[in-house]
């Protein structure tokens, strides 16, 4: 965003109502999801697919070996025991179900992603585009034939065929297909916030000349579709690290189990059944997290998409969870953004009426919300326009002059704008400054408002107090972020005093007043130099370098194409506050993964106590059978059945994520170790005992 202009009037589209109450517009159709997932669970038994998941591949191989041992129980040498064929058969069935449940978890998550992708895809349909040829003639082509750089003309009623940038024309566009907002948005060329259009949206009035900015299948929505469908889902760094950990654990347990018979033969003097060894291996390797790992990742992407945010990589979503610093704009993010004139403070002995008259003259051509609110306040004071507006000329606000105003028909000049700029204007006209102006400026700034000075030619009239309201509840959200260890930095074009007051009121950790776009990059670089990950939002072309520099850059959908290209996420609702929610989703993703890993590994203890006494019953370690399980066979079966059933039982948790609580990293660690660590130790003891009672009662073993 233009920094000097960062707090200038700008019509930001705010979503209607609280976000939680709004429905995601491209509705996700989950009909038949579970039937399809069940079918996919069997399709995924293909060894080439299973190879992608090391833990489940080991279980899959184990299933084949126990299946062979069901056919011939003495395949690997004479094995002691009764009913071995039935016992091995039961082990095979349970192991097979473990693999199927793991595939099912992944298939459900993928199915939800696909449903999400279908919903997104429904916003894109093949349409006919009017392509403007280099000679100016218009040719009808299919939207799929459009290439980057092509120029197209769209008229009222058309669906915009591709992402693009407006070159000519002013039109209102209905973006409800992607954002859910029914109010049309004004699109015009050259503007930071309104010059980009998205394919799939509908033009409501007038016409536009658009330059296509993406090749077919390369637009934002296409990228998101590929991502939620899993087609382009590359493993994120955290997933890779966890995969390595799981493979190391699996390898260690494989070596332990493979060398166990030798030691057992030496100590106990009897051989151990290979089926029992496989059961022990499967019980010990972290099957729960191995089965749910990819489902957790896909569900995380899905949650971001449900929030109407398009992420270009899973890496970006995950990085959100590790964010250390949030760089936020003041206007529209921390404050409501629609600043309204609250009070006139006359100086130089002028009366309130005189000041209201000059303020009205300076604002009569100003169509920004601030300008209109000034006009309203002057009318409340009884001021009237006392010149012929058709002969007067409006002077627009610019970031360079930082003031706007009117050339009066009699040659007079009225101006309103930043106090420094107006001081310069008055001085240049030979006028005198007054300390009263500084007092008024300070007073307004200390209230957290924006002071606008008003003058006519060389005469200062006073200061307008523009009230900026901090968004309700924003302080609590920053408090939450601080507890989570996230630092917030506010950037504003306002003066130092106003910025400090707003920063104090909103509870941000740091602020930068009178900021320029370069300041943004500097802040990001200095935070990154301290080893922190930085997130920021932006919508203007001059935000693009900072968006690219930030670890998580969220561009507003209403922003320019350059900003959207540089960012790794695009918010379809153009709501800058959403950055805070995205951080929450990222943290939730990481916490869920951590919690389930802890749970999975903690489960090992109970399974160990179930299987080892059963395996070496003859060695006189029966006292290790602390759960008092009915028999050796029922103990092994119970542990394996628990191992299989815990996967579908945890699918809902993997898909919805662990409930997020804004706690510090230490508190979170303690809490999760207590719930998922201690719970992971205790729950299987109870569950295995219960399953054992059922197994013994049914007479399975």
């Amino acid at each position: 965003m233009d920094s000097a202009n960062s707090d200038s009037p700008r019509s930001r589209r705010q979503p209607g109502g609280p976000r939680a109450s709004r429905k995601h517009t491209p509705k996700v159709n989950t009909k038949g999801l579970y039937q399809k997932a069940l079918w996919q669970a069997f399709v995924k038994l293909d060894p080439r697919v299973e190879l992608k998941n090391p833990v489940m591949f080991v279980v899959w191989l184990g299933t084949i070996i126990t299946a062979l041992m069901t056919i011939n129980p003495n395949l690997f040498g004479p094995t002691p025991g009764d009913n071995l064929r039935v016992f091995n058969g039961l082990i095979t069935v349970v192991l097979f179900l473990t693999v199927v449940f793991a595939n099912f978890a992944e298939a459900v998550a993928e199915g939800r992603g696909k449903a999400q992708a279908d919903a997104l895809r429904s916003t894109k349909s093949e349409t006919t585009a009017r392509k403007v040829m280099p000679d100016g003639s218009v040719q009808s082509v299919s939207s799929t034939d459009l290439r980057r750089g092509d120029r197209i003309r769209v008229v009222a009623g058309d669906i915009i065929p591709a992402d693009g940038e407006v070159l000519e024309g002013v039109a209102s566009v209905d973006e409800s297909a992607i954002t859910g907002e029914s109010a049309p948005v004004l699109k015009e060329p050259g503007s930071d916030v309104a010059s980009s259009v998205t394919g799939g949206t509908r033009i409501r009035s007038d016409e536009l000349l658009i330059r296509v900015t993406s090749d077919p299948g390369k637009g934002f929505i296409d990228r998101m579709i590929a991502l939620v469908e899993g087609a382009e889902r590359a493993k994120t760094p955290n997933e890779i690290a966890l995969t390595v950990l799981l493979a190391v654990l699996t390898l260690i347990f494989l070596i332990v189990v493979a060398t166990l018979p030798t030691i057992a033969y030496y100590v106990v003097g009897s051989s151990v059944s290979v089926a029992l060894l496989i059961s022990l291996l499967v019980a010990l390797i972290p099957t729960t997290i191995g089965a749910l790992l990819s489902a957790i990742g896909i569900a995380g992407m899905d949650r971001v998409a449900q929030f109407n945010v398009i992420a270009t990589s899973g890496r970006a979503v995950e990085a959100c969870g590790d964010i250390g610093t949030l760089v936020l704009d003041k206007t529209g993010t921390i404050t409501l953004g629609n600043r309204l004139a609250e009070e006139f403070i006359p100086v130089n002995g002028h009366s309130l009426e005189e000041m209201a008259r000059v303020a009205l003259a300076a604002s009569v051509f100003d169509q920004t919300p601030e300008g209109r609110s000034i006009v309203r306040l002057t009318e409340e004071q009884g001021a009237k326009v006392d010149f012929d507006t058709s002969k007067a000329e409006g002077i627009e606000f610019s970031a360079k002059t930082r003031m706007s105003g009117t050339h009066l028909p009699d040659g007079g000049e009225v101006r309103k704008g930043a106090v420094d700029a107006i001081k310069g204007f008055v001085r240049s006209r030979g006028g005198q400054l007054t300390p009263e102006l500084d007092t008024a400026f300070e007073r307004v700034s200390r209230l957290g408002g924006t002071p606008l000075a008003v003058c006519q030619d060389r005469e200062l009239y006073g200061v307008i107090y523009l009230k900026d309201i901090v968004k309700p509840g924003i302080r609590e959200r920053f408090d939450q972020l601080r507890r989570m260890g996230v630092r917030t930095v506010m950037l504003t074009g306002d003066n130092q005093i106003t910025a400090s007051v707003i920063a104090e009121e909103a509870g941000v950790d740091d602020f930068i007043a009178e900021a320029t776009p370069e300041d943004k990059i500097e802040v990001i670089q200095s935070e990154q130099a301290q080893g922190k990950l930085v997130a920021m939002t932006g919508d203007g072309t001059n935000d693009a370098p900072a968006l690219a520099q930030a670890d998580v850059g969220v561009a507003m959908n209403s922003g320019t194409q350059a900003a959207k290209e540089a960012a790794n996420m695009v918010d379809l609702d153009s709501d800058p506050t959403k950055l805070i929610d995205i951080v929450t989703i990222g943290k939730q993703l990481l916490i869920t993964r951590g919690a389930l890993t802890t749970f999975s590994i903690a489960n090992d203890i109970a399974k160990y106590f179930a299987i080892i006494p059963a395996m070496f019953a003859t060695a006189g370690i029966g006292s290790l059978n602390v759960m008092g399980l009915a028999s050796a066979q029922s103990a092994v079966l119970s542990a394996l059945i628990y191992n299989a059933l815990i996967i579908p039982a945890l699918i809902p948790l993997a898909l919805t994520g662990v409930k997020f609580r804004p706690l510090t990293a230490n508190e979170l660690l303690q809490r999760n170790i207590l719930i998922y660590g201690l719970g992971g130790v205790v729950i299987p003891f109870i569950a295995i005992k219960l399953i054992d009672l059922v197994v013994a009662a049914v007479g399975l073993a």
Partner: protein, 90 residues
């Protein structure tokens, strides 16, 4: 591949050229059946060792099965090492 490149001179048996081409092309197209075949061939070496070590307790079938199980376990170890060192491939 030129005919001169064929390693007929180095192989203990003289392979017909067509068989050699078939093997090399199949190795590229579908390596798994050939790998399984080589695994079974390797087991021809392992199984007698297993049987000899068991002191006659195991039948010949058991020895072959155990030899194969050992090779599968070894293969699994190699696979897990590949996962640990090149996790991005999985």
């Amino acid at each position: 591949m030129k005919l001169a490149d064929l390693p007929n001179g180095t192989l203990p048996v003289k392979l017909p050229e067509s068989t050699f081409f078939l093997l090399t092309s199949q190795w590229r197209k579908r390596p798994l059946p050939l790998q399984l075949f080589l695994l079974l061939c390797l087991n021809l070496v392992t199984a007698p060792v297993v049987q000899a070590a068991s002191g006659g307790e195991l039948s010949r079938d058991n020895a072959y099965a155990l030899g194969l199980l050992g090779l599968v376990t070894l293969g699994l170890c190699v696979y897990l090492f590949v996962v640990i060192f090149q996790p991005e491939r999985f």
